[in-house]
Amino acid sequence: MAIRRGRGVAAINYPTGMNLGGDPTQALVHSTPTGNFMVTLSSVDLGQGLKQIMAQICAETIGVPTDRVIIDTADTDTGPHCMGTFASRGTHRAGNAVIQAAKEARQVMLEVAAEELEVNASDLETDGEGNILVKGAPQKSISIFDVALSAHFKRGRSISGRGMFLIPRSYPEKETGAMKPSTCYAHACTVAEVEVDDETGEVTVLTVKNIFEIGRALNPRMVEQQLVGGSWMGISHALYETTEPYYPNRDHGGTDFNQYLMPGPGDLAETEIIVLERPSADGPYGAKGPGEMCANPQIPAVANAVFDAVGVRIDTLPITPERILRALKAQSAN
């Protein structure tokens, strides 16, 4: 018996947003009488944390702490249209729509503040803690709480804004395929280290070192969540998962979590995540969509590491112990 070790690398990119564009998202933002901000959307949070990110984007744009933003999403009677949560588009598309809506609301807010402070709106800035200050004379200020009260009950202004983000649809040229699939791309490079049992074909992923370039980490803790979970799913795709283990034969498809294989908590690779940020030109605060691509580079990195370990190529996913063992037997037969 021999446990043989190998490592492999893979580098990838991934488009942000629906392929070829044409996928709009809208947002509405308005202030409550006491200067809290309601973001109304129909975007869906699948667990990746869209609600939290939209709150942070709105807060940054308006100039209030995040806990003064309320997200009201995914009720079609109130929320304006969103194409949906898929194609790494949530943060990018909805985030841009929220920024546009929040900017419009912020402008009204600054105009009301300007009237209260008797200055020009263009001379005002926010401190991010809920106050509006005169640039260069911060002692002259008013709280957003008071501005909202004034807007509502004194000046009759609606502190609100509308946002819409659309990448115009691109149509591929029939003969050449000339097209504009996406406006920005995330990047990744993964190095995986594995051990392969050459008598059973079993693979243990020892370490994965993942470098992700994601535009901008709007909330680094949540980015980490996505990337760690994605890295796990990438390894899972590489070695475990399929609904048809004997494809294209349709028999023996798994019907539960015992039969549908994924790495358990005892199978975890030591996972390192390093994030680079090259802001995208059209992303909200430079963000791109990292949610999908983070699960891609581990698959070929693991495949290449298996080859490095035992010298057989498994070009069919998933790379099961059976496929490795068959290849090893064929190798030793030659």
Binding site: N13, I57, D67, T176, G177, Y185, T243
Partner: protein, 455 residues
Amino acid sequence: MELRKSYFADQRKDGLHEIGQGRPRLDSPGHVTGKTAYFADRNFPNMLHLKMVRSPHHHARIRSIDTSEAEKHPGVVKILTAKDVPHNVYTILILIQIGPEDETVLADGKVRWKGEAVVAVLAETERAAQEAAAKIKVDYEVLPAVFDMEEALKPGAPLVNEYHGQNYYLYDSGECRKVRFGDVEAGFAEADHILEQSYQSSPIEHAPTETTGCVVVPEGNDRFTCYTNTQAMFFTLDNASIILQMPGSKLHFVGGTVGGGFGGKVDVIVEPIAILGAKLTGRPVCFIYSREEEMQISSPRAAEKVVIKDGVMKDGRIVARKVTGYTDAGAYSRHSPYGAQKGAAHYPGPYTIPNVWIDTYCVYTNRTPSSAMRGFGVTIGDFALEVQMDKLARLIGMDPLEFRFINAYRDGDMKAHRQPTEGAALIECMQEASRAADWPVAEKFMAMSSYTKGA
């Protein structure tokens, strides 16, 4: 996790108040206390349960359906067949003008995959619905089926889907989406080595812990509220509106809090039939996939076959790449024509190659229709591309990481689909990987930049 701020610092504005902060998630307290409300956490009096009778055959003609015994079963309230669905033949991407309509909500005369929905049973309890479903008699004439993409594309193969007329999706560009850039044959002629390899995957399930489903409540004013875990609210609402021939103003969708999606909840499957059930009975209806349905009935990530032929020079430059991709759509389109096309846009990967030829096919077979999943159109392609890169490097005796530096795209490089590269960062990711993994590469690669060719 570490943020390496030294890269691209000149392009980044730091010092924001809320952006860049690891704020606690506002939804997590609800998660840890069990208070977060998912669609199925709403319970309504008099709710009916919908269970589906499904095809036991991969491909068959339906001679007859006999629901008479099931209708008499205690607790059964309504049984739905194809004739009850106002616009039974549909396709979801019709909303973005990708047709033809090719799928039935409930099978009409024919089934094209094992597990296809044939009859919907609405009953007072899950148990009653299951018992009644077992009493429904469907008489099938089994037809030859095709499971292998290559077999499906051969002349004389059983026709999977009459709405297409052939076993592939017909793009405006023909039987596949094409990308042509440079002269790929001239590139092969010039190359020191040619390597052609084939890669294969099988279907993969999203496996969210919460299965697909919805609860529909008649509001008493001819409107219907649908609590759903769809990933796309209006996409689902608008498709339901088409299928039910019901104005969108009559539909009210509530969702947005979903127990995992990964692309598995963007088909429009449970909502239309549940709304129809609620409309015809006047009662709340829930239709929630069992785990078995989630595993074998809901769309998986497609199986794909990718054939890559490369021409490479001894010095490491890839001078020609030809990719032929096949996406196994199963019996119906759903999102697959889009996914195959996304693959065409993605190849030849993040590398600058002067001569490129890409064909991507969307192929129909008699299996569970596939659809979107995390990395749609790209994940399996990246597996193929990056294993191929490893093979090429070893073929010419070069370090696999250095080989990628030589070919990596940089700002301004023209991509095969004729867009100039912007915002590239592959080189910097690889430089950081070299450091983090203690995988040394030549100094000239560590000095490269994505910004320009020369730098």
